[in-house]
């Protein structure tokens, strides 16, 4: 749109969708820029004065309100424990890059490089980003051989690289996410993913039984809807700034945030979802809800994830995981436990 003061490429190099509503976005940004300015001032006080970024009530509150782009790498590392790891194993990344490397793994990663954010101006215009992404994924695959390379990690590492602009920082953040924050989503069995998809379904059943019933009646498996949400942590799903605001909280508060976001998306669009008359419509609706103005307005959206889904103690998630895992075992082994 020629009249918009916003470019058709966002600050991270992603092209905005063709049907992007610049008018709504301008309205939103006119308010959000004030929020950003205020947050930038608040964070500058902490970081400028060299105050601790360690976990505390204040930092948690600040994180929920959004970390300014330029500080994200630093703060994510600090609040997630990545900084400590990096300090303790300071040569690890360089050593991993030296090798030796498994050529099979390296070939698989290479195949995905040009297929990662092909519309992003940083990834499609220069070799540099693709080479850096290759290094991060190769290093991680050789560091964590149980996970190796799983499709989806390319998007996470790619976005980490765009935000931090540092290969090594992105590597450590990737390591923290995969090994500390998320439970076995990317291992060959994807056990943690399959469990958490069902945990989310259980949470929907508890919190929005009508939606759960409707989705079940339409015959749409939850995995079909949510695999990408869990695997990409909403990268390539939600607008970039919204995804990064989610990651702010994810690095501080852990993987519970993914459930909060998913439940909020569903709850805010409940009426639309319930209005879907068939499987096709419902599948389309689940795609649409990740692209509407609600999710573009990241500040409101992030406030709503802590209110709308209601209480969500970690203990509930843990209990549901145990329950779901048990029922998976029973399905494999119908006689056991009877």
């Amino acid at each position: 749109m020629a009249t918009s003061c916003f470019s058709n490429v966002d600050e991270y190099g992603f092209e905005r969708p063709h049907n992007f509503n610049y008018e709504t976005y301008e309205e939103f940004m006119s308010e959000y820029l004030k929020v950003l300015a205020k947050r930038a001032r608040k964070w500058a006080e902490i970081i400028g004065e060299g105050r601790s970024l360690e976990r505390s009530i204040t930092i948690k509150r600040y994180v929920r309100k959004g970390i300014p782009g330029e500080h994200r790498g630093l703060v994510w590392l600090s609040v997630s424990g990545g900084e400590e790891l990096r300090h303790n194993f300071h040569n690890l990344y360089q050593q991993l890059l030296i090798g030796p490397h498994d050529s099979h793994v390296s070939d698989i990663i290479k195949t995905d490089l040009p297929r990662t954010f092909p519309d992003n101006i940083f990834f499609n215009n220069t070799d540099r980003h693709q080479r850096q992404l290759f290094n991060i994924l190769l290093a991680f695959a050789h560091h964590n051989r149980q996970v190796g390379y799983c499709q989806g990690l390319n998007y996470i590492a790619g976005l980490l690289l765009l935000v931090t602009k540092s290969e090594e920082t992105a590597f450590w953040l990737l390591k923290v996410l995969i090994e500390r924050i998320l439970p076995e989503y990317y291992t060959p069995t994807m056990k943690g993913l399959i469990t958490d998809i069902d945990v989310l379904a259980e949470l929907v059943k508890i919190k929005m039984p009508d939606v759960y019933q409707h989705v079940t009646n339409m015959g749409l498996p939850w995995a079909v809807i949510t695999t990408k949400w869990f695997i990409c942590l909403f990268a390539e799903v939600l607008p970039t700034e919204t995804t990064l605001r989610i990651w702010d909280c994810l690095f501080y508060e852990g993987n519970k945030i993914v459930f909060r976001v998913a439940l909020t998306l569903i709850k805010r669009n409940k009426e639309n979802l319930l209005a879907c008359q068939d499987f096709t419509e419902l599948a389309e609706c689940f795609k649409d809800i990740t692209k509407d103005s609600i999710v573009l307005q990241c500040h409101d959206f992030m406030q709503s994830i802590f209110k709308l889904p209601g209480s969500l103690p970690s203990s509930t998630i843990l209990k549901l995981r145990t329950k779901v895992e048990q029922s998976h075992k029973d399905q494999l082994n119908p006689r056991a436990g009877r």
Partner: protein, 218 residues
């Protein structure tokens, strides 16, 4: 509970006023990573091609309609992730599918081997009446070919598969393979009952979506 009584069949008013039968079928694409599954779908549904197509995570869902002489066939297309570890999710996508396209890359022998294991899995686990097509994609890269046409054709014949070499890039045989599947799918009263998914689906012709073939819905 799922309503299994409704067959995937209905009638709809065609633009020229004649009554046509609409059949809705679930089709799944399977095959190794980067063989061109998403590109085939994108070519078929939107007529587009991207040299670098984003890797698919989980699965993508699209619909497209093709018209045969007397019937309109609406495909519900499930495009899946190719990497081996997503395999455990695959049954969810081919369960209840009436058709599958198993894709390999003619420039990569391993992807052909992987295709044959997908075919075996479908023959063992999917609906017994599933129509399977084998697509040797990237046919535009003939100078890098390692899987011979005759080899794949012989394999397809032995296994009762439809077979075509395709190119999502040049559009060669892309509509044709979907059309061949549409023709082979049973369109009688029992058509929908073969499905184990049996979603009771309301059959509404989607507007604003152009049918893929020329010989269609005149």
């Amino acid at each position: 509970m799922i309503d299994v009584t409704m067959a995937n069949r209905g009638t709809a008013q065609r633009p020229n006023g004649t009554q046509g039968k609409i059949c809705q079928f679930k089709l799944v694409l399977l095959g190794e990573s980067a063989v061109g599954k998403s590109s085939l779908v994108l070519r078929f549904v939107k007529g587009q091609f991207h040299e670098y197509q984003e890797s698919t995570i989980g699965a993508a869902f699209l619909t497209q309609t093709v018209c045969l002489d007397e019937t309109t066939v609406k495909f519900e297309i499930w495009d899946t992730a190719g990497q081996e570890r997503y395999h455990s999710l695959a049954p969810m996508y081919y369960r209840g599918a009436q058709a599958a396209i198993v894709v390999y890359d003619i420039t990569n022998q391993d992807t052909f081997m992987r295709a044959t294991t997908w075919v075996k899995e479908l023959q063992r686990q999917a609906s017994p009446s599933i129509v399977i097509a084998l697509a040797g994609n990237k046919a535009d890269l003939g100078n890098k070919r390692v899987v011979e046409f005759e080899e794949a054709q012989a394999y397809a014949e032995e296994n009762g598969l439809l077979f075509m070499e395709t190119s999502a890039k040049t559009a060669m045989n892309v509509n044709d393979i979907f059309l061949a599947i549409a023709k082979k799918l049973p369109k009688n009263e029992q058509a929908g009952n073969a499905s184990t998914s049996g979603q009771g689906r309301r059959l509404v012709e989607s507007e604003g979506q152009k049918p893929a073939t020329g010989n269609c819905c005149k």
